[in-house]
């Protein structure tokens, strides 16, 4: 977990470097990125001396980034998303950064990078009786394409890594005194969306 915090801080510091030379003052403007896609991963469980089970996970994820375009290439704002994991509905509320990395071949296509970090809430989640799900920290760096001119609405395609923590208190049976599960979701998310 501390690794991710370090990388986040490092990444945010590096953002300061490219903005040295500006020709004229850039007026900050509202920007939005809304995406919808799947979050994919695997899980290894029932580990014993003899066998192990592996399952592939695929869940729906969606988010909307609303912020301010501070520089031609840099936007800062907040992200609210929703992740429909198999047994928890989490609402990550994050601070987000979007940075345009390059414009390959001066075509109508830009590569952007994103970083969101925040906390996943369980406000919308319904637990079965006896279970209590608590949210946790989430961090999601990503990279993507945007097609279209900067002054128009763009289509975006993004690929991001998502790490979400959660904790569940489970009901006790018979001889049990304490039962709790700590979860870390490590997923790759493919999303498509719009940006303006």
């Amino acid at each position: 977990m501390s690794d991710f915090i370090r990388y986040t801080v490092w990444f945010l510091c590096l953002l300061g470097l490219p903005v040295a030379a500006q020709k004229r003052a850039f007026k900050p403007v509202f920007t939005n990125m809304t995406e919808f896609g799947v979050s994919l991963g695997q899980v290894r469980y029932n580990v014993s001396a003899v066998t192990e089970s592996v399952r592939k996970q695929q869940n729906i994820t969606a988010q909307t980034f609303n912020g301010v375009q501070l520089r031609p290439k840099l936007a800062v704002g907040g992200t609210v998303g929703v992740d429909w994991y198999s047994s928890a509905l989490l609402l990550p509320v994050c601070a987000g950064v979007r940075y345009d990395l390059a414009q390959p071949g001066a075509k109508n296509l830009r590569v952007f990078t994103s970083l969101d970090t925040g906390y996943g809430f369980t406000w919308l989640n319904q637990d079965p009786t006896g279970y209590e799900t608590k949210g946790g920290w989430v961090i999601a760096p990503g990279i993507g394409f945007r097609t279209g001119r900067p002054q128009n609405a763009n289509f975006i395609l993004s690929l991001s890594y998502r790490r979400q923590e959660a904790e569940v208190d489970k009901p006790l049976f018979a001889n049990e005194i304490y039962k709790s599960e700590s979860r870390v979701y490590n997923r790759i998310a493919f999303r498509v969306g719009l940006s303006f």
């Binding site: 290894r44 029932n46 489970k170 001889n175 304490y178 979701y185």
Partner: protein
């Protein structure tokens, strides 16, 4: 371009996680391993020992400023609590297989696996064994483990209890199914409360029974000691308190766990409700009715014609509501639920009218004003600690928590004042 390259490289270590969810479930449970003891071993094991730390406290009795705290399966801690701000451990009375105690005047009754022991506690610093009635209990349950008496071979087959914590990898999908409970209750034996702090005892003026605070399998009424096992109720005639005589044995059915005498009735607690026995002839209690507003997992306290019952999730009785019920018991044949108050996870409770104290498990202690049953208001909510059971002792409140017994002064019920703490070192931790 350099900074941009660094940005891309910054993500590479993340690939090492290979997008695999990791979910670990940690659970603590009791593991039972069979063990055998000889009856001779058990009988010779009774002695007075130096004080020790509380580990697994069960039933608690308070008498004349002294606390008699049962240490499950081991014996009884004797604590001098005449100054609640400075309780002092006096001694430890070792009784193998002890699960329950009852006190009347200066006589203490305790079970020791299959036997009933009688002690003289007129001088708590110097407890003397008076009598042992042998082979009266055929089986029993202590801390979730069962024991049975093999009278022919003079052996007791018991189960040793270990607390095991293990971590397993799960598939992150959480609830898969709720397994139905098919076996009988395996409660820890120390969380539920049948506090009799304010019930009318016909012989209260002459005798003084101690005030019990935990799940009661022993009960005193008139000149009888009632003991319940899983299926039957065994009476002891204690006309001569130092010399209990074996009395009637009444079959009760299955899943019987607790007994609570109230006026001339006996409430016998099971997992589905409480059976009410008419005790006007104490030698022969007769079943009268069933009180369905409380099961054995639901602590009950009674004040005059109102019963206060707490229901909670996470017990072996498989309930999922968390609330306080106020029941009108002026007519026991048809008790009426007056009102339900939502709670967080209520455990034991105690009443010193109009103050009602409710332990909210991991959520602390609540002090309520129960003057008006239809409008019970909260006076104070102390948080930040576990509260399992509580006994109101007139001026001080004894609270049984995760890591100790706390004593509070409640002369101002809106602001409880902590007086002292008797530490408990439990063999497992509950976060």
């Amino acid at each position: 371009m350099r900074p941009k390259l660094y940005l891309l490289l910054a993500w590479l270590p993340l690939l090492a996680t290979s997008c695999t969810d990791t979910c670990r479930e940690t659970r603590t449970y009791r593991r039972f391993t069979p063990m055998t003891l000889s009856t001779a071993q058990i009988r010779q094991g009774v002695q007075s020992e130096p004080t020790r730390t509380l580990v697994n406290p069960g039933k608690l009795y308070t008498k004349d400023g002294f606390l008699f705290i049962n240490e499950l399966k081991e014996g009884i801690h004797i604590v001098d609590n005449r100054d609640p701000a400075a309780p002092r451990m006096v001694s430890f009375l070792r009784i193998p297989g002890n699960g329950d105690i009852a006190i009347r005047n200066n006589i203490l009754y305790a079970d020791s696996y299959m036997d009933l022991l009688t002690f003289d506690i007129s001088d708590p610093q110097n407890v003397r064994e008076l009598k042992r009635v042998e082979n009266v209990f055929p089986n029993g349950q202590l801390d979730g483990g069962w024991w049975t008496l093999d009278a022919q071979r003079q052996l007791v087959n018991d189960q040793k209890v270990d607390y095991v914590t293990e971590t397993v990898k799960t598939n992150c999908d959480g609830p898969v199914m709720n397994w139905p409970q098919t076996w009988t209750s395996l409660t820890s034996g120390s969380w539920s409360s049948f506090s009799t702090a304010s019930f009318d005892n016909a012989s209260a003026a002459l005798n003084s029974s101690g005030t019990g605070g935990s799940m009661a399998r022993f009960a005193l009424y008139d000149h009888y000691l009632y003991t319940v096992s899983q299926t039957a109720m065994q009476l002891f005639d204690i006309r001569n308190p130092a010399d209990p005589q074996l009395g009637n044995n009444i079959n009760l059915g299955w899943n019987i766990e607790t007994i609570f005498p109230y006026k001339d009735k006996l409430f016998i607690g099971s997992q589905t409700g409480m059976q009410i026995f008419d005790n006007s002839n104490p030698e022969k209690p007769v079943q009268m009715a069933t009180f369905q507003h409380a099961r054995v997992c639901d602590p009950v306290v009674v004040h005059e014609d109102k019963a206060y019952v707490t229901l909670r999730s996470g017990t072996s009785c498989q309930g999922f509501t968390n609330q306080l019920d106020v029941v009108d018991i002026s007519n026991l044949y048809s008790p009426r639920l007056l009102k339900s108050y939502p709670m967080k996870n209520p455990h034991g409770l105690s009443v010193d009218f109009p103050n009602l104290f409710i332990c909210e498990g991991a959520y602390g202690l609540k002090t309520l004003n129960a003057q008006d049953a239809m409008n019970i208001s909260e006076l104070e909510h102390l948080e930040g600690f576990h509260a399992y059971d509580v006994i109101a002792l007139g001026k001080t409140l004894l609270l049984i928590g995760q890591d100790g017994f706390y004593q509070y002064d409640y002369s101002n019920p809106r602001k409880l004042r902590l007086l002292s703490k008797i530490p408990v070192k439990r063999p497992y931790t509950v976060s």
